[in-house]
Symmetry: C2
Subunit: 190 residues, 2 copies
């Protein structure tokens, strides 16, 4: 059973408070397009991520707002601005890397929250049953491409009835497999 493999470019999740600091007291997130996961959307609002060595401009915010601000970079991105970010699941930001976030109306210094996302599969309980996997299970996923077929290990499965079936990888992982256009993966037993 195959599923879609989506590449997540660098992005930011923000709290209501940080949104207001960055974009002004009346700011609300402006939906640009819906993402595959129900209720999640890319926003028109963009920020600059500042590290000790350099910065990344025009980084998208993904909505809705969240209980804590989180910056997801590829390892290439993080290194390019001098940040040493750990590989973590979304939400697991304790002790992760600091950075400065700059918006048009203000800036925020976060003491932690910068991560390189751990590759993962979102699945509903029904999807998980069809795939023969359980929540938190770690699997291998094969992505066959014309020039850089790759089998990703350490892929964590996350199961919730709020999800839609999709695997998420970052731009380094996507480039390593030569992903272009619509890409599919399948779990392989090794």
């Amino acid at each position: 059973m195959k599923f879609i493999v989506e590449t997540s470019a660098r992005h930011v999740h923000v709290t209501e408070a940080d949104l207001k600091t960055l974009f002004g007291n009346d700011a609300v997130l402006t939906k640009k397009k819906d993402l595959s996961q129900p209720g999640q959307f890319a926003c028109e609002e963009r920020v600059t991520i500042v590290g000790p060595k350099n910065s990344l401009a025009g980084v998208s915010i993904l909505g809705p707002t969240r209980p804590s601000t989180q910056v997801e970079l590829s390892a290439t991105d993080a290194r390019s601005i001098g940040i040493s970010a750990p590989i973590r699941e979304s939400g697991d930001t304790k002790g992760s890397a600091p950075c400065k976030i700059v918006g048009p109306k203000g800036e925020v210094e976060i003491s932690e929250g910068v991560i390189v996302a751990k590759r993962h599969i979102h699945a509903t309980p029904a999807d998980a049953e069809k795939l023969g996997v359980k929540d938190k299970e770690v699997v291998f996923v094969k992505v066959a491409t014309p020039e850089r077929t790759t089998i990703y290990g350490d892929v964590v499965v996350r199961v919730s009835d709020k999800f839609a079936l999709a695997m998420h990888i970052d731009t380094d992982e996507s480039n390593a497999a030569g992903c272009t256009g619509t890409v599919e993966g399948e779990i392989v037993k090794l």
Copy 2:
């Protein structure tokens, strides 16, 4: 049988003529350190690679000079400066991407030569025999890391008595596997 997996950061190979244009008529390459492949070395000389969208400064030259100038970028690098570079084996640059190369004394426009390197293993005939592979054979290589174990497909084996045993991947591929420090790989049959 395991072998070392080395990450090649973005770099340039230059002809004698381009070296002189970039660094002056008396220029010779200055060895900074030897690389794993016999006779190959990283140089003190650095250039800027200019694409339509942006540029990459401080890019290393690898010596010795070659019959044609070649720029090896990761797909992340190429995209960041607006270049669409094909995945190619070193030397196979026909119809690959153009760019401008800027040095302290001059600049060179190349009409082709920018590639994303195809992942590969360098092996001597004796190594190849031990590994049970032949020149040009395409294999899977497993790189086990604490957080991002990865099996690379489409790895081409190159056999020559001028080589030393090592696999070469680019920074995207290295980051996709969470490679840090000394990394080893092994061929797996799938």
